[in-house]
Symmetry: C2
Subunit: 407 residues, 2 copies
């Protein structure tokens, strides 16, 4: 008989954002007239930059004529896009990353989820932040690399606790951890890591033959010049780190779908006998076997993000969200809450002083504002709420008026 993957059953609740969506649907059904404001899931609300729209329209037009039509594209992305990304995102910041080390995909969620396929089924230790973007954990649970869950944590994982004591940036672990998921600017806390903090992880990875999976989906929100945008700004990172990037928040691509993963040519893992195994050929194999490239018009839209007009428009887009973040931060602080994030990130994380699902329900029921309960991101999120700056300034202002009036 055909056997189900038994590990799926270990997952504790449905994917966090699906659960929230279900609670919101339930509330809306019971209160059809309520004017909900969504500051929950990190989903952008403003139009795609004109440069991207124009490039995509042009590419769709090309698809409509035999002479300019494009069928299967290169599985790892068109050269025009890989070259543009390597220059704009990395070389311009002094990071030595070449075009053939960039792998274009339909999103960083897919890539962070799929990347674990390149590792052995077991025999090594995984470290995840707490609070954590659930995809890092759930995909390893599904692959059978953890034990059962108890009290919100899975047996076999090492949780790197992020809390007020460490400013929401954990230090490298004390003992041996072989795979480290990091995300800065952080989802959900909005915290950023300094050059020194990242360098400590890079050093750790070299010393412990570990690998860092670095999620930089929110780098476009960094405004403090001293904060690295890429882990490859840290010397030595090429051999020990893979970086995930997304245009979802940078350029409003959540519904358009494009991200990319950087796997440097010399980045390594190990065979059982301790010999080095290069990671790039494994990812190439994975992508050429299970993926068929990103839609051509989407890749042209992505290329336009890096044009002069595209850069300016994306900067304005992000600045708008950062202005919202500032408002959220300031008004919560005025109410006496301690907040993190929102200066170099679109997320504001704050301690509610009560159970976070209860606080989530309170905001939903009394203020008609959707947020994200911190407990959904792990034990260290208990009592916290994540507020997202992705909405119009008007909606954000109204939401804060409502929230402040009930607190």
């Amino acid at each position: 008989m055909i056997l189900a993957n038994p590990h799926f059953a270990k997952i504790q609740a449905s994917y966090l954002f699906s659960t929230i969506a279900a609670r919101v649907r339930e509330f809306s059904a019971a209160h059809p007239d309520a004017r909900l404001i969504r500051l929950g899931i990190g989903d952008v609300t403003r139009a795609l930059p004109p440069a991207c729209v124009e490039a995509m329209q042009k590419a769709v037009g090309e698809m409509g004529a035999d002479a300019t039509f494009r069928g299967y594209g290169p599985e790892f992305g068109y050269d025009f896009l890989r070259e543009t990304i390597a220059k704009a995102d990395f070389q311009s910041r002094g990071a030595d990353i070449q075009a053939d080390e960039i792998f274009v995909s339909d999103g960083a969620k897919c890539d962070t989820g799929n990347f674990q396929e390149l590792f052995a089924a077991g025999g090594f230790t995984i470290g995840v932040p707490d609070p954590v973007y659930p995809v890092y954990v759930d995909t390893n649970v599904m692959a059978g690399r953890t034990g059962a869950a108890a009290d919100g944590r899975y047996a076999g994982l090492v949780y790197l606790e992020s809390d007020e004591a460490n400013g929401f940036v954990p230090a490298p672990p004390e003992g041996q951890v072989d795979l480290l998921y990091l995300c800065f600017p952080n989802n959900p806390t909005g915290a950023t890591a300094t050059r020194e903090q990242l360098a400590a992880f890079v050093d750790y990875a070299h010393e412990h033959k570990a690998l860092i999976l670095f999620d930089a989906a929110y780098e476009a929100f960094i405004r403090d010049e001293s904060i690295p945008h890429s882990i490859y700004e840290i010397p030595g990172a090429r051999e020990v780190a893979v970086e995930f990037r997304s245009l979802s928040k940078t350029a409003g691509f959540t519904g358009t779908r494009c991200g990319y993963t950087v796997v440097p040519r010399d980045c390594r893992v190990f065979a059982e006998d301790g010999s080095k195994v290069l990671l790039a050929p494994l990812w190439q194999r994975r992508m050429s076997t299970k993926f068929n490239g990103v839609s051509y018009p989407v890749q042209r839209a992505a290329e336009a993000v890096f044009s002069e007009a595209g850069r300016r428009q994306c900067r304005e887009l992000v600045d708008g969200y950062l202005a919202n973040a500032k408002l959220i931060r300031e008004r919560l602080q005025a109410k006496g809450f301690k907040t993190t994030g929102g200066d170099n990130s679109p997320y504001i994380w704050f301690n509610t002083g009560m159970d976070s699902w209860a606080f989530f329900d309170k905001l939903l029921n009394e203020a008609q504002v959707v947020t994200t309960p911190g407990a959904g991101f792990g034990r260290c999120g208990n009592g916290y709420i994540r507020i997202s700056a992705f909405n119009s300034m008007q909606n954000v202002a109204t939401a804060l008026d409502r929230i402040c009036s009930i607190l």
Copy 2:
């Protein structure tokens, strides 16, 4: 230390089409003036249907205005598309499939590759056709469900041989096989399965508690009214079969990217203790954790495939490729080759009477025509060549003139 997945190393050669691409690049570099004609990889060459271009342009325009912008879409696809597909592809043919059983993705290659994640790491037997679309095999090798390869076959897999004796449609296996990959119209042979032949597999799956993964990516090429387009036209298939569909060949979407997978609500696998496990919740979990939906403009283009204009345009597109297929079939037969396919499929499969990579090289070097060596699809492909009808009529005619002149 971080350990590599050891199973990747078992894969025998790089992905078939990457290998072919490398040989073609090498030839082109040595013969920069050669005018190559590509009848190899099954990649469409004609423009996207006007109805799709128009719908996609409109959707891109919507993305450019705040009021009509769309962020994250539903992970399983927009209702407008799922409902359209359920009606047009299934209900209209008497197959009882509902919209919420359709899962929209960026392609059938991804889905056929990813679906094996829902099964246990081992403890059951996998049957694949020979010759076979390499994705079915390679993804299971990577997941560690096979032993090493020897003489072109992996230990632990059951190969369902397709040859002249069975008209390239194998019967269900004699013994116990728990997971069966089927593809009709077949890639690479072009053979189609009758209702009775499919019914035998459905019966087998019920009797043996097996599951069928049915790849119907080429169903749009069926012109013989008696041949089923979907496995759900067979009574009882809902519980024992998953079906993969693609718009790549139906509507010229190879570079636009959209496919869909059907997982009926009552389709089941089993737990170790023999109890039933429904498959749909597992696929939903997989997709909501590792995927973020298909680009909105692409979903609108996909919807347009099923409009009145879209259907007519797609039919014309496919008819054009079928006319090429007829020409290929007839000219090869006139040269004395026995061919399969090309009547209800875009592929023509024929016995060359020599080693298929040698024949591939002969056609590349002497006729400047790219084909696909049958040996790349498995042991039963030794001696065969697959010719694809995806090109302009002019190019196909020229390629056949060249081929016939050297044979």
